[in-house]
Symmetry: C2
Subunit: 338 residues, 2 copies
């Protein structure tokens, strides 16, 4: 693999930090690397492969000589700078929601729709964290039995919101243990010892933006014929999103068959032995790369129904890892560095 020049945009955020880790761990062929952020975070220090770097403020010339830019600095930054980066000749992999539903932009999970890469014109979008882990698990089931409908309820970790929310949960837990007052800042309500069905902003139809993402992104990545109903819920967990997923298929998929299909699937691990209390949990999968599935059972409330419990590290497969995997595929297909 030819070594390339990389820019990480939003390097000081939770996903940005995870991107740095993933690039190091996977020995991504970096020739030169630079770290970019908005004015607010510029000047901060980050380290990569034991060397220190100063985060530079983004401007119109930031992407000169850069082959690959990994963006995770929020939608507004992506909207402004991803087109600039792309125009200057570098491939952008964007972790924000800015371009996900753009018809000209592929929305990719390498295990699910690698063919989307062919349509890439400079920007590739990384899906929402809760969508990624769901479609990775649904793909082999859809290929076998054709999924008609998905009903999903999520249990989402605070790291999905960002570093501030991780600090907030930790501070609230400390305050609770010390019988001190809790004053939420990041979320509208206390998240310690609480749950709320509110992720991202509310839409006119009463669903949240996060729920809409799961509906629309699943259609774009997997199939427009799959109808999704999502309820997305924040829980007091640091890392690891869990999903209670119910599917209805055209062709019956027995639980044993589902286990076999999932066992063979790339980036999926089946942990499903209820008698031994084995099922995936956020605490046990945090820091790992795969999507874990358990509690696979027939849903007898309908003809071809199946229930699943899916857990993955929202910062890795849900964000940083998937972005780097897209970059690896783009390198392999010679979309970068030529």
């Amino acid at each position: 693999m030819s070594k390339i020049n990389v820019a990480v945009v939003g390097a000081t955020g939770v996903v940005g930090q995870e991107i740095i880790k993933v690039l190091e761990q996977r020995k991504f062929g970096v020739s030169k690397i630079k770290f970019l952020a908005s004015e607010r975070s510029a000047g901060r220090r980050v380290s990569f492969e034991r060397k220190g770097y100063t985060v530079e403020a983004l401007d119109n010339r930031s992407f000169k000589g850069v082959d690959l830019a990994l963006f995770s600095a929020g939608s507004d930054v992506s909207k402004e700078f991803a087109p600039i980066a792309s125009k200057s000749g570098c491939l952008v992999i964007d972790n924000s929601s800015a371009f996900r539903m753009d018809k000209e932009v592929p929305l990719m999970v390498p295990e699910v729709n690698p063919e989307a890469l062919k349509k890439a014109k400079g920007i590739i979008a990384n899906p929402n964290c809760s969508t990624v882990q769901m479609v990775v698990v649904l793909k082999p089931l859809h290929d076998f039995g054709q999924i008609k409908r998905v009903i999903v309820t999520t249990f989402q970790a605070v790291s999905g919101t960002g570093a501030d929310a991780v600090v907030e949960l930790n501070e609230q837990l400390k305050a609770y243990c010390q019988h001190k007052e809790i004053n939420p800042k990041v979320y509208p309500y206390q998240i310690a010892l609480n749950v709320f069905p509110h992720i991202d902003v509310f839409m006119k139809d009463g669903s949240t933006k996060e729920e809409e993402k799961m509906v629309k992104e699943t259609k774009k990545i997997l199939s427009h014929r799959i109808n999704v109903n999502a309820t997305t819920v924040r829980v007091p967990v640091l890392i690891g999103h869990s999903e209670s997923i119910n599917i209805e298929t055209v062709k019956e998929i027995k639980p044993e068959k589902a286990r076999k299909l999932l066992d063979k699937a790339k980036s999926v691990q089946v942990i499903d032995d209820p008698e031994e209390n084995k099922y995936p949990m956020p605490l046990s999968v945090s820091g790992t790369d795969d999507c874990y599935v358990g509690r696979i059972r027939r849903d007898s409330s309908i003809k071809n129904g199946l229930s699943l419990w899916v857990v993955a590290d929202n910062l890795r497969k849900g964000a940083a890892l998937n972005a780097v995997q897209i970059a690896e595929l783009a390198l392999e297909k010679k979309l970068i560095g030529n």
Copy 2:
């Protein structure tokens, strides 16, 4: 109302303690009261209306002269002593799962199936906490639109397990804040900063007993024609179960219509103003009596689909309060104290 002699069985447990509170708060017409428990808890002290009582060990003569016995000491104790209590002429309201599916025993939520009281022959069963709050909210919707199918995922508080679990979560949070090791005792895994899809024991078909309860009890209480699929999940919350509920009805129920039906329903409160971040949460409903519903919205993945978010205090409407309300209805209908 005539004053009656009451026995509280399992008075030192979390539900037993809540029964005492509910009897006091509702000024239940108690003439004499006694507190009973297994040998293990006998001798402990409890207080009722500012008077102290010593908990007595259960035996065959415990129910002599007692008109009403409220049981919440687990299935085994109920199986052994509820028939003895009933034979000695007192009405038993049992909070355990021992008799719930017994055809001779009514399974009751006063707002939902008060007519079941007519069949009472000495023992009345109180449903499982997660079932109670669901059927209270589903009842007015079912009456209007006839529910065909329910898909529910729960977020259940540790107090549903008992006092030990409340202590365990608090100790784990303290250990986490002090960077100390966490060694789970009550649950197979750490519950602080974690979630797991495991409540009660696992059944042969891969579902948990808790999931089976929600399926079977809903049928018995509401309608045998309703098919339920449940996934029950423990979350690090002290009090208050939350439920993500998706229903399919024969007749369409528009969200506005559902809100009107629920607004009029007894023991239901609609908190549903997403624009103002208003939806029910465990922290905001703990200690209160009603079942709260929000996030009411159309599920467009199917013809007549509706999604709801339901939260209630699992110790009150889910257990103690419902038991006392059954007793109040039985008193009104002169089933006790005659």
